[in-house]
C-alpha cells in the first residue's frame, strides 16, 4: 500500500515531518475542530469516568503495595487516555496483546480489578484473565508480545475472521529486535494489527533520547512499509481518532498500523523504582500540566458537558475497588497442584514424580509437627 492509499489522517500527520496529531491542547481547548471525532456527550462523559476509574484503581494499587499488602506493581498514572481510547475502539472479538502498562484497556476487555490485584499478589490465576475474551496475559519479557500479535494477525486473516489485534509496547521496547521483526513480518503479511508505542519518555531510568537517534518513534513504521502516526497520547480525542482510523484501516484489509502515543509516566516504573534518581521534579510538574484527565475535564467544562460529581464518583469507585481487593486478598491459598498442573496439557511423569516426592516431604513435616 502506498502512502496515497492511506487514510488521509496518516498522510496529514506524516511522521517523517515529525507531525503530531492533537485535537485539544494542553489547556483542553479545541484546536482542530475539523478532526474532532463524532462522539456524543454521554460517550465523552463515559470516557472520563473510565479514565477516572483507572486512575483511582491505580492509585489504590500503589497504596496497597505501600501498605505491604501487595507485591511489586506497575503504575499507569498519566497514560489513561491511551488505554481508554483503545478500550473504546477495541471490540469483543478483537484481540488484546498487552505489555504491562495498559490497565484501562484490559478492564475494557473484561478483566477485573480483582484479577489485577490477584496477579500482583503473586497468583497466576489473576494474570491469566480467564474471563476476558481474546486477551493474552501480561507480557513482561520486553517486546516479545509484538511477535505474538503479528502471528495472531496471520491467524485471523487465514481463518477469515473479522478480528483486529491491538498490541502495546513502551519506548524502550522499540530497541528490541522483536519490535523490528514483528513490524517487518506484519508488513510483509499485511495483517490487521495495531501496534501502539506508549512513549512515556523513560524505560525505567533511561530517557527515550538514549534509545534511538530516529526523529520520533512513529517514523520507524516507514522502513517496514506500514503506516505510522505520532499522536498526543494525553489527548483523549486524538487517541480515539487514531485508533478509530487505524481500526477501520485494518478491518478493511489495509494491514498493520503503528501508533506512537506521546505521553509521560507520571508515576514510577514499578513500585520498586524511585524516579527522583533520574529525573527532575520540574520535568514531572511540566508534564503534570498535560495530565490527560485534567485536559479532558477542561474541555468538557468549556463545552458545557461537565456534569460529573468527581468526589462522589471516586468515593463509589474506591469502595468497589476496595471490595475487589479484599476478595483478592481472601482468595483461598495456593495449592501445590497449581505449581505443576498448567505447563502441559497432560502432566508428564517427571512432574508427577517431583510433586509426589514433595508431598511425601510435606506429610513427613506434618507428622514431625
Amino acid at each position: 500500500m502506498t502512502r496515497d492509499e492511506l487514510p488521509a489522517l496518516f498522510s496529514d500527520f506524516n511522521p517523517l515531518e515529525d507531525k503530531m496529531l492533537q485535537i485539544i491542547d494542553k489547556e483542553g481547548t479545541m484546536i482542530r475542530k475539523d478532526l474532532m471525532p463524532e462522539l456524543d456527550d454521554e460517550t465523552i462523559i463515559d470516557a472520563y469516568r473510565q479514565m477516572l476509574y483507572e486512575r483511582t484503581a491505580d492509585e489504590m494499587a500503589v497504596s496497597y503495595q505501600r501498605q505491604g499488602r501487595m507485591y511489586t506493581y506497575t503504575p499507569n498514572l498519566g497514560q489513561e487516555a491511551i488505554h481508554i481510547a483503545a478500550g473504546m475502539v477495541i471490540r469483543h472479538d478483537d484481540w488484546l496483546v498487552p505489555a504491562f502498562r495498559e490497565m484501562g484497556t484490559l478492564l475494557s476487555k473484561g478483566v477485573t480489578m480483582k484479577e489485577m490485584f490477584l496477579f500482583y499478589l503473586g497468583n497466576e490465576w489473576g494474570g491469566s484473565f480467564q474471563q476476558a475474551h481474546h486477551t493474552l496475559p501480561i507480557a513482561i519479557s520486553i517486546g516479545t508480545q509484538l511477535q505474538h500479535a503479528t502471528g495472531i494477525g496471520y491467524s485471523v486473516r487465514y481463518r477469515k475472521k473479522d478480528e483486529t489485534v491491538f498490541t502495546f509496547i513502551g519506548d524502550g521496547g522499540t530497541s528490541e529486535g522483536d519490535f523490528s521483526e514483528a513490524l517487518n513480518f506484519a508488513g510483509v503479511w499485511q495483517v490487521p494489527v495495531i501496534f501502539t508505542i506508549q512513549n512515556n519518555q523513560y524505560a525505567i531510568s533511561v530517557p527515550v533520547q538514549k534509545q534511538t537517534n530516529s526523529l520520533n518513534l512513529a517514523v520507524k513504521s516507514v522502513a517496514f512499509g506500514i503506516p505510522g502516526i505520532k499522536v498526543d497520547g494525553n489527548d483523549f480525542f486524538a487517541m480515539y481518532l487514531a485508533y478509530k482510523t487505524a481500526a477501520e484501516h485494518a478491518r478493511l484489509g489495509g494491514g498493520a498500523v503503528l501508533i506512537e502515543a506521546l505521553t509521560y509516566r507520571l508515576g514510577a516504573h514499578t513500585t520498586s523504582d524511585d524516579p527522583s534518581k533520574y529525573r527532575k521534579k520540574e520535568e514531572e510538574q511540566l508534564w503534570g500540566k498535560s495530565d490527560p484527565l485534567i485536559r479532558l475535564k477542561r474541555y468538557m467544562q468549556g463545552a458545557g458537558i461537565w456534569s460529573i460529581d468527581e468526589e462522589h464518583l471516586q468515593e463509589q469507585y474506591r469502595e468497589e475497588i476496595d471490595r475487589q481487593f479484599t476478595e483478592a486478598e481472601q482468595e483461598k491459598s495456593y495449592p501445590l497442584e497449581d505449581v505443576f498442573s498448567h505447563l502441559y496439557s497432560d502432566m508428564p511423569d517427571e512432574l508427577r514424580r517431583q510433586k509426589s516426592e514433595y508431598e511425601q516431604f510435606l506429610s513427613w513435616k506434618e507428622k514431625r509437627g
Binding site: A139, S155, Y158, D178, N184, D349
Partner: protein, 322 residues
C-alpha cells in the same frame, strides 16, 4: 523411505487432514527447505499454508506462538540448530510458558523442527547438539527420532499434541537410512524410549544419529562376547525413567552415547537417573561418552570430536572390565 521423506510424508498426511496446520520458515516454500523436508508441500497446499517467511528466527517462532494461541497449529522450520538461538528468548520466555502463564486458557500447539548434529563436514553453527539446552526449559517437549519409521510416527504425534514440541532431526542420517514406512497415518508416543536390542551385560543409551554408531559398536562387542542392550531414548523430555530403570537394573552397567558436550548433558541426567533408580544394581560407574566441552571443530578437527564406533566399543570394554 529416508527420514527426510518420512517427515515430509507426516507433514503431508496432517496438512491434508487438518486445515489449521501451516508450515513456514526460511526457504521452506518454493525450495522445500535446504534439506527438502517440505519439498512439494507448497505446490500441493498453497502458499498460504506452506510459505517462506522473512529471515528472522525470533519472528518465526514468536509469530508461530501467536498463531498457536489463536487456533492454528504452526510447524516452523529453523534452518540449522545453530540458528535456533535468536529464537531462544521466544521459546524460553513465551512458547514454553504461555500455558502456565494463562493457566491453560491458551495452549501452544506448535512444532519447532530443525536439523542438528555433526558428522557432515559443515561450517560453524551447523554441527551442534543443543538438546540439553531445550530439555532444561520447563514447558517444552523435546524429541529426537533415529529412524524414518519413528520420525513419521513421532511427527504426526507432535502435530496432534496440544503442547509445544521441539522436534530435532539428526541431519547426518536424514538420508543414510532407508526403511519401510507405512503410507497410512500412525502415531508413536512422545514420552517413551524404545529398547532396540535386548542384552544382558551393559546398557547403551543413545538417540538420533548415535544409534547407528552404537549398532556398529555392538557388532564389535558381540564378537568380544559382550551382550549389549541398546535403548533409543527418543524423548529427551519428558525422559523415560521407567525404561532406563528396567534396563540398568537388568544389566548393572550403563553408557550414554551422545554427541553433545558431556558436561551438563542428557548423559549427565541419565546417570543421575541410574543412580537414583538402580544404585544397588550397579556393577560399574555409569559413564558418558560424549562430545568434548569444546566448540565442535570444523571438518579437519571434527573426527576427534565425533564419536566413532570403536570409541564406543573401547568404552564398553572399559566398563565391563571395571
Amino acid at each position: 523411505m529416508t527420514m527426510v521423506k518420512a517427515i515430509n510424508n507426516a507433514l503431508d498426511v496432517k496438512l491434508r487432514e487438518d486445515e489449521n496446520i501451516v508450515i513456514y520458515g526460511e526457504d521452506v516454500g518454493v525450495e522445500g527447505g535446504v534439506f527438502r523436508v517440505t519439498e512439494g508441500l507448497q505446490k500441493k497446499y498453497g502458499a498460504e499454508r506452506v510459505f517462506d517467511s522473512p529471515l528472522a528466527e525470533s519472528g518465526i517462532v514468536g509469530t508461530a506462538l501467536g498463531m498457536a494461541v489463536s487456533g492454528l497449529r504452526p510447524v516452523v522450520e529453523l534452518q540449522f540448530e545453530g540458528f535456533t538461538f535468536p529464537a531462544f528468548n521466544q521459546i524460553l520466555s513465551n512458547v514454553a510458558r504461555i500455558q502456565n502463564r494463562s493457566r491453560g486458557k491458551y495452549r501452544a500447539p506448535m512444532v519447532i523442527r530443525f536439523p542438528y548434529g555433526g558428522g557432515v563436514n559443515a561450517l560453524e553453527h551447523h554441527s551442534d547438539s543443543p538438546e540439553a539446552l531445550f530439555a532444561h526449559i520447563p514447558g517444552l517437549k523435546v524429541v529426537i527420532p533415529s529412524t524414518p519409521h519413528d520420525a513419521k510416527g513421532m511427527m504426526i504425534a507432535a502435530l496432534e499434541s496440544d503442547d509445544p514440541i521441539i522436534f530435532m532431526e539428526p541431519k547426518r542420517i536424514y538420508r543414510a537410512i532407508k526403511q519401510e514406512v507405512p503410507d497410512e497415518k500412525y502415531t508413536l508416543p512422545l514420552d517413551k524410549a524404545r529398547v532396540i536390542q535386548e542384552g544382558s551385560d551393559i546398557t547403551l543409551v543413545a538417540f538420533g544419529a548415535m544409534i547407528r554408531e552404537c549398532q556398529k559398536a555392538i557388532v564389535m562387542a558381540e564378537e568380544a562376547g559382550i551382550s549389549v542392550e541398546l535403548v533409543d531414548l527418543r524423548s529427551i523430555y519428558p525422559i523415560d525413567r521407567e525404561t532406563i530403570r528396567t534396563s540398568v537394573r537388568k544389566t548393572g552397567r550403563m553408557i550414554v552415547v551422545a554427541e553433545a558436550h558431556e558436561s551438563f548433558s542428557v548423559g549427565s541426567e541419565l546417570i543421575a537417573i541410574a543412580n537414583e533408580e538402580a544404585f544397588l544394581y550397579l556393577e560399574a560407574p555409569p559413564r558418558r561418552v560424549g562430545g568434548f566441552d569444546t566448540i565442535v571443530p570444523l571438518a579437519q578437527g571434527e573426527p576427534y570430536y565425533i564419536i566413532s564406533p570403536d570409541r564406543i566399543f573401547y568404552e564398553i570394554e572399559k566398563t565391563i572390565h571395571f
